[in-house]
């Protein structure tokens, strides 16, 4: 599957970790938001367990840790609308598009390669 022509940008942030089990997701999203605030064209790729970051109905953590939902709501405010999601991982976790909080373009390995090539910088979290 090929990317829409908007599959390019300044920064691609690849989010590979799920919510709550570590701070990687939160810290990766913070980098994306700051980059966008600094005027960069930012795309997000949710890969492997990172696809779980987009699930609807996530909650705050049991000890009161902030959940991801509010941060996801901020993405549009910061003009981060190029969201991509690993199709193979979605299938592996048995998830469908309607389970996700935000719309994201499903990508396969070929499209992922293109994403990495079409962004000036790539950071993984």
């Amino acid at each position: 599957m090929s990317l829409p022509s908007s599959g390019s940008g300044d920064l691609l942030v690849i989010l590979r970790h799920p919510p709550h089990g570590s701070s990687w997701l939160r810290e990766g999203l913070d980098v994306a938001l700051v980059a966008a605030a600094f005027g960069q064209a930012v795309s997000l790729l949710f890969q492997d367990e990172g696809v779980l970051a987009l699930l609807k109905e996530q909650q705050a953590g049991p000890l009161g840790q902030k959940g991801t939902a509010a941060t996801l709501d901020m993405l549009a405010m910061y003009d981060i609308e190029s969201l991509y999601i690993d199709a193979e991982a979605l299938n592996r976790f048995g998830l469908h598009a309607d389970a996700l909080q935000l719309p994201a373009t499903r990508v396969d390995a070929e499209a992922i390669k293109s994403l990495l090539n079409q962004h000036q910088q790539v950071l993984t979290f």
């Binding site: 810290e27 980098v31 605030a37 600094f38």
Partner: protein, 130 residues
Amino acid sequence: MRYGLLVMGAPYSSQATHSALRFASALLTQGHQLESVFFYHDGVYNAARHAAPPQDEPHLYDAWCALHTEHGTQLHVCIAAALRRGMLDAREAERHGKVGHSVEAPFELTGLGQLIDLGQNVDRLLTFAP
């Protein structure tokens, strides 16, 4: 070429810091510049000024300081990641009513914007993570 490093592992706990220091040394030997190291996630612990490793082990904190002293490399520590992990400089310690502080020059607490700037200003940005 101008290089930047993003270090996200705590010293000793993983090889991230060791690899970053080895890479830094090699790039400098080859005539490149190391503009800045940005510490994020558990990498902020590299700024712990009271680090006191045994004498027969590498002194990672001193190694970072030497990069600054000898090559002018800036050492930027993400303030948000640092504060929640108890890594405060004198100013933040006072602001939060804490006795003592764990971060001092040449390490500087800065915002994530410095990482974004670094990425734009260098030719190569490498991540070393646990």
